[in-house]
Point group: C2
Chain length 251, copies 2
């Protein structure tokens, strides 16, 4: 048996957002490796071994996946969203680069998925319909000063901004500081979306302004999108308003 690794995106939660490519890879797999809640989405079956591990064990998990593939197993590493956006793909490649030479000959591929910001944007309208950036607000893997520098430059560029991991359990004050900084750069009227657990039973969307935004509106399952200066809200009768960024910037 020739082993392989597929680093697969399960999308934000709903099965209807899992691509057929990912479903097919899961059907062929002998092993599924991933963070506990993502592995819990995979139905057990004969011939499939599930390897669930805790958060922050990304490199150990990656080494396990590569080792299993080197033994000839067909391994799917599951991520939520898209594996290439603040998820498992970079971790697997870090492990591969640092690992034994034979790992470089493995058949490894990334299978894209619907990342959280795009699912959230779709549900709210089209806030990322013009130029935007995506920033991981967690300071686990980079200095807080770099995060704040990027927020300032993104505000100067007038990007819409999508924030992953806005509020960590360990250091919740970072997100409060980020909101303060954005209020200073962008003004209190700037629109902001809190989108929690999009496409699941726990889905909750809140659109407000930076002036009204509170850090407690986000948790670990929330993606936050701050509009550009042109992002607009269209009110509707009896339906949620539409948040969108026009395609054009006037000269």
């Amino acid at each position: 048996m020739t082993g392989w690794v597929r680093i697969a995106g399960l999308g934000p939660g709903a099965e209807a957002l899992v691509t057929p490519e990912v479903t097919a890879a899961l059907e062929q797999a002998t092993d599924v490796v991933g963070y506990i809640p993502y592995v819990a989405r995979i139905a057990p079956r004969d011939g499939l071994t599930l390897h669930a591990s805790d958060n922050r064990a990304e490199l150990d998990r990656s080494r396990l996946a590569l080792s299993l593939a080197a033994e000839g197993r067909r391994v799917v590493v599951v991520s939520s969203g898209d594996p290439g956006v603040f998820a498992m793909a970079a971790a697997v490649f870090e492990a591969l680069e640092a690992g034994p030479q034979e790992w470089r000959n493995l058949d490894v591929a990334v299978l894209p998925g619907i990342t959280a910001m795009l699912a959230a944007a779709a549900r709210a309208g089209a806030p990322l319909g013009h130029d935007f950036c995506a920033i991981n607000l967690s300071d686990n893997l980079k200095p807080r000063a770099l995060i704040e520098k990027r927020l300032l430059l993104a505000a100067q560029a007038d990007f819409a901004m999508a924030f992953y991991n806005p509020r960590s359990g360990a250091r919740p004050e970072g997100f409060a500081r980020a909101l303060d900084l954005l209020r200073q750069c962008c003004g209190g009227d700037r629109l902001i979306l809190f989108a929690r657990a999009v496409s699941t039973d726990q889905e909750a969307l809140t659109v407000t302004t930076l002036a009204e935004a509170r850090p407690e509106m986000a948790d670990m399952r929330t993606v936050v999108i701050v509009g550009s200066s042109l992002t607009r809200l269209v009110d509707r009768d009896g339906a949620a308003p539409i948040l969108y960024t026009p395609r054009s910037v006037p000269a």
Copy 2:
């Protein structure tokens, strides 16, 4: 019959990258509206009317979709990639906002898809594995000076950058200027990916450096990704090298 509009992302090209949610909407549709090559992807069937229109007719197409839904039709507006990223969602909401009041009561939803930069990133490795931005390089809808300002600020922020519509037929010199600017800000060693028609028969990927990059490497079907200062290339025997951005930034 109660009409609706679904603004659906068909992904980059392969059917295996179309979500089941989008497939289900197409099965229920009475009308499909979109740009000619995207409508060409939809199989004709009894009871389904295909409305293909030319490029740059986004607002006309959006008004058609909303008008049909107001008459009770079930309309899918098809985009390639994700409709919320430089595609049809913002256009439909612009038309809705400017249109008759009754359009605000329509059942309109966006169905996300795999956008080109994520498909390209997956194929190359994980170049968008850390903070990044997405910029539409076309100057059809915004001033060239704003594009250049955003490139400079994105380089200062050390974002990886994904570029849509890098090289227009009408004004190809814009992309040459963007490459010059990036070479000045980021240096000639910075890695750059040209990914054309990912997941189709015409797929072609080139990874090179800004020093070696030439404007002709991109056309209208190419998405371009420029790495951050930390983006790396892992060489492999007998397989394409892996382009990825590590998750960590050292303090």
